[in-house]
Symmetry: C2
Subunit: 100 residues, 2 copies
């Protein structure tokens, strides 16, 4: 699932944090927590307008909280969303791979 | 200069297209024009909320207009803007390097 479900920033399998519409610092905390729990790699994913927030999260994490964290790679792609009645919509997405 | 000035999407030196608040297709056209004029590399730059639009532009260019264009690299960073009176604000930025 791409969309978050809980009250807090959602953390999926494989140390992935999905960026939604919550305050940026919620997601920063989620990423920092993953690193502090011993993860050496955390992936930040977002699509549509949340892409800008995903970049903010990565930048805040590495500048303010975990200086030794680095952006290892960034990928962008297009996801095709299928609506009811067979209509489709394209939405851009980003994946930011961070490692410490 | 980072901000665009003209009526159309702005194209700076070094085959760079700066993404602002105009319709996405303005910037797509600017990038496609650069490639069609013989450029083998075009850089798309944006900051703040325009980052999402920059990703849209890159994806539309390579999927719909120039299939042989590829995203060679993506960089994100933080720019420090200085306001009057010495205040500063951090803003995230993205650079998407496309080549054909």
């Amino acid at each position: 699932m791409f969309y978050e479900t809980g009250r807090n920033a959602s953390v999926g399998e494989e140390n992935t944090v999905y960026i939604g519409q919550k305050p940026t610092m919620n997601y920063v905390l989620a990423v920092v927590t993953q690193f502090n729990n011993g993860c050496s790699e955390v992936t930040i994913k977002a699509r549509g307008r949340a892409i800008s927030r995903a970049v903010d999260v990565a930048e805040i994490v590495r500048h303010r909280f975990i200086q030794e964290a680095a952006v290892r790679d960034i990928k962008i792609e297009t996801e095709v969303l299928k609506g009811e009645g067979g209509s489709t919509a394209n939405v851009s997405s980003i994946e930011i791979y961070m490692s410490r």
